[in-house]
Symmetry: C2
Subunit: 429 residues, 2 copies
Amino acid sequence: MTKASPLKIAIAGLGTVGGGTVHLLHDQAELLAARAGRPLALVAAAALVKPADLPLDGVTFFADARDMAKTCDYDVLVELIGGAKGIALDVVRTALERGKSVVTANKAMIAHNGIELARLAEAKGGNIGFEASVGGGIPIIKSLREGLAGNRVSKVMGILNGTCNYILTTMRDSGRDFADVLAEAQALGYAEADPSFDIDGTDTAHKLAILASLAFAMPLDIDSVACEGIRNISALDIRYADELGYRIKLLGVASVSDQGVETRVYPAMVPLAFPLAHVSGPFNAIVTEGDFVGRTVLEGRGAGARPTASAVVADLMDLATGRVGPTFGLPVGVLKALPAAPAGAHRSAYYIRLMVRDEPGVFADVAGVLKAHKVSMEQIIQRGRSPSEVVPVVMTVHETDEASMLGAVKSIRALASVTDLQLIRIESL
Amino acid sequence: MTKASPLKIAIAGLGTVGGGTVHLLHDQAELLAARAGRPLALVAAAALVKPADLPLDGVTFFADARDMAKTCDYDVLVELIGGAKGIALDVVRTALERGKSVVTANKAMIAHNGIELARLAEAKGGNIGFEASVGGGIPIIKSLREGLAGNRVSKVMGILNGTCNYILTTMRDSGRDFADVLAEAQALGYAEADPSFDIDGTDTAHKLAILASLAFAMPLDIDSVACEGIRNISALDIRYADELGYRIKLLGVASVSDQGVETRVYPAMVPLAFPLAHVSGPFNAIVTEGDFVGRTVLEGRGAGARPTASAVVADLMDLATGRVGPTFGLPVGVLKALPAAPAGAHRSAYYIRLMVRDEPGVFADVAGVLKAHKVSMEQIIQRGRSPSEVVPVVMTVHETDEASMLGAVKSIRALASVTDLQLIRIESL
């Protein structure tokens, strides 16, 4: 294969992202060929049904993606079917077994099977591109793997799920409650009929596991990601966040220290001075802390046909021009598992919203519990009085270790006058 | 040269960035070798005086960088001397003539001589990396050239000069005036004794020309960059910006449309909803609009020893692993000059601050002039009355073409009661 010969591409999956990728390869063919020094040629595509509205003239169509992966003559298979296992994993394995390269937008598959696939690629001489798996069109994988290659990264965190960010942004803009906004997002097609994958943080966890592996040169470890979603965020919390100078965002946070590595997904209060506070609607953003570069922030559209296609094609361009390397920045054998940071040692400030019966002495009880657990209060908001009714009391507490905080929370929940308790981390800068 | 043989590096210039780069190569040697699959070996360094505090054991020292460039055995010369011509250009030409590669942080040299150097690299087989020339540690060159390679970019704009951003941020935070904050910045070493290069926009213009060339696949054209600096921004304007919901930022803006290409540097009112409004102090940020990816924003430290060293080493890692390509993303022969957009056709909203003698009829005169030039007023701020004294009157006007606005400004300046006029563009989203 000379350098000017076309890069032969087979796409498995012609849904939203597959369609966007076909359009991009078609619309920008000339530009891509000029930049790569060779054509990017779509030679085959597979889907259950051939879409009538895609420019697929001259492209061999397969109704069976496995058949295409096995028999077709291609240089790179683009997997846009989705799902951690099943057909997606089958076609990717087949392509790599054949020594071909793979480009994928499939975060679930990479998060669960990335190491096995990277090993296979190393053994057979193919390469794996997965820029589209995290952050849609944001070139975050390339930035972590190449642009910041001179750094030891201590932290990578971000807003990684556009559905959650849309819901939280809309809740704030409209003052409406979670269930209401979720139902609307489902009606509009912004959220799935079964929204659990997004709103319970699973999707964010997949992406975070991938970022952590790249950032810390460790094997993928999806099972260690602690995961809380946004179901419990109420309109009341959003309102108090505003009043206190925060935005509530679903974050994926991975950090490494002498204590070990932590990967967590949780909704957090983000200070307005922090760039992530201003990332709204369908946008994603990723903050990285490197020992030389300091903090960088990359923001862009986190999903959608065209942004994701942009990332898929960036990987194809790298393959076309030979800008390739180990899947996770290092050969699999060199990736080193890191110890998990001890549970409860994580330090954070917190927002606590109590629903309490407005009775004498309640506040003294709560303050006593916090004191007993050495948790130091920063501020408290309690408005008016409604004797013997249930009212919200909101507090923020200074940075403390998680074990102390959870101990205090347990004791506060046990107080007879406390009917509900909401605990949200406050992200520090 | 096998892949596992070291990449031999010679550094010309051991100032701030040179020192940072030496430290990075020394401190992270093991990490870099693992990631590149081969050692990055600093074999030679040149400076007028050998700094005592750098880890240069085993590194051949040259007091004459030209001598090093000519005689030393290296794979890549890292030019960190600075200046568009002189020694910097000499050593880079020498290295490229010898078929070696070059990595540089020198935006002035790239902006003025990038095409000549890219041609030389193409002819002799070397490569040129200049990630460090724009945006410090932000991987913006790599993102534009590779990460967004599937896109036609219509706009690239950013906060590209940390000194100006520091001055404008400090003016806002402290309420102090430009000259005062500049003097302090000079005393603190954040601004040069001769600050013109930064505050008059020259540095931003160099960086913008580089970004525009990459974004629009056109040859560098530094001479076409229209350039206004921040000397005329007063504390009063900063205060009004705040009141109107803007931040004043020095922007470099390059855009391309059917009308042609525009590259401009100017201070602008940036709406708070726009990510650039929140980029403060020494940070830089670059916004890119691509036809598939949509808007992306990259933010990070725009200068300094360590962030810039991070970018220099990213280029070295690309060279070490063979991730190379044409300097400006396309061979020089394929870059195509674009027509300049017609003067005066640029459309923008504007902020206008008049200093007027508080006399009857002044406002009617101003309104009449705007009407005559078909400029439509959006809002006006005039506080209290101070008969026959000079008072500020602030207006914003709806989007209009620049020719109309400048025509109106000329007529307003000619009014007897107007003693001063400040005109600042309002950046649209």
